[in-house]
């Protein structure tokens, strides 16, 4: 394999793939941080165990994807210790802290569903077989994360005053920011790394969400400033307050 010293050495397709994998891995890193922060809100030891397992799963997926980014000249040191809040490419969906248990459940449902939908398009990739196997393994493990959130949604809905459907509608608008602008060239798809285009994946995501929640027509917001490299509208990066919660607190201790 060729040694990549800088991003300029990459082909256009590899640059786009690198960006997309960065977005997926960063989403998993932030989602793992969320699981870590809400752990004490679990309702039983079985819930604590489940949240811990999902946190560990997301950290593991993020680590494996970051490691795969080594193919594009990205080092773990750069990924884990050299970036600030402005460099994290997780989706807008995960910027806003959970407002309640119900909002947390709605948000993790959207996040897990969005990430699994995107990764499902890599499973058949002939252009990168290692990535295809990694995507398949991540999807198998994530299935139970979805069962967890769907189970909680059903349980919460038993209460006539539950806000889970309203919470989900708000989170869905943010989730769709991940697939902001379908008119931009989809180089990762056209080069065969993904077997579905972003617009097909967006539709698939909405179909999957529709099996659990009502999806109103025309729910997507404007996509005037959407950038494919960060998969979101507006300025790059996550809020400083969120970064402060998820970042390594002591780089010296974290160094091997």
């Amino acid at each position: 394999m060729a040694v990549i010293d800088s991003i300029e050495d990459l082909s256009e397709a590899d640059r786009f793939l690198r960006d997309e994998l960065y977005c997926i891995a960063d989403a998993k890193l932030v989602l793992a941080g969320w699981y870590m922060m809400v752990l004490q809100n679990g309702r039983s030891i079985a819930d604590f165990t489940s949240i811990c397992a999902m946190m560990q799963g997301q950290y593991g997926h993020a680590r494996a994807l970051y490691q795969h980014l080594g193919r594009f000249g990205v080092t773990l040191e750069e990924v884990e210790w050299m970036r600030g809040a402005k460099d994290i490419r997780s989706p807008k969906l995960l910027d806003r802290p959970p407002q309640s248990w119900s909002d947390f459940v709605a948000a993790i449902f959207m996040a897990e569903q969005a990430l699994s939908t995107q990764l499902s398009a890599y499973r058949t990739s002939l252009a990168d077989r290692t990535l295809a196997r990694l995507a398949d393994k991540i999807l198998k493990e994530s299935r139970f994360h979805l069962s967890y959130s769907v189970g909680w949604i059903k349980a919460l809905r038993k209460d006539p005053e539950s806000t889970v459907d309203e919470d989900a509608r708000r989170r869905l608008v943010d989730a769709l920011d991940w697939w902001g602008d379908a008119d931009q060239p989809d180089v990762v798809f056209s080069n065969g790394y993904r077997d579905k285009s972003d617009s097909e994946l967006r539709d698939r995501f909405l179909d999957l969400v529709g099996t659990t929640f009502d999806v109103p027509d025309g729910i997507a917001g404007p996509a005037k400033s959407w950038q494919r490299s960060i998969r979101r509208n507006g300025s790059p990066g996550i809020p400083e307050t969120l970064f402060e919660k998820i970042r390594f607190k002591n780089r010296e201790l974290a160094m091997p």
Partner: protein, 84 residues
């Protein structure tokens, strides 16, 4: 601060809903009862069972609602399948 839990809503009611968990590591092993989980529905029971009983890489795992089990030797004794 004491955690406030709505048992009816979050744990499936005042009477706990148990799901018995069965698994085997390979096809040569019999499907064995490995424990149980409490959950308000099958989706949450599936997730909790998978995450709690993760000490082996199971080839097969399934859950059965305790209410679906017909007891034979313990009929009318009100005893349950062993809860782990």
């Amino acid at each position: 601060m004491k955690k406030i839990i709505d048992r009816q809503l979050e744990l499936g009611g005042d009477k706990p809903e148990f799901y018995e968990v069965f698994a085997r590591r390979d096809s040569a092993e019999p499907l064995t009862h490995i424990g149980s989980v409490e959950a308000p529905n099958a989706d949450l029971a599936e997730a909790r069972a998978w995450f709690v009983y993760d000490h082996h890489t199971w080839r097969e795992m399934c859950i059965v609602p305790l209410s679906a089990i017909v007891t034979i030797t313990e009929r009318d004794s009100k005893s349950k399948v062993k809860v782990v």
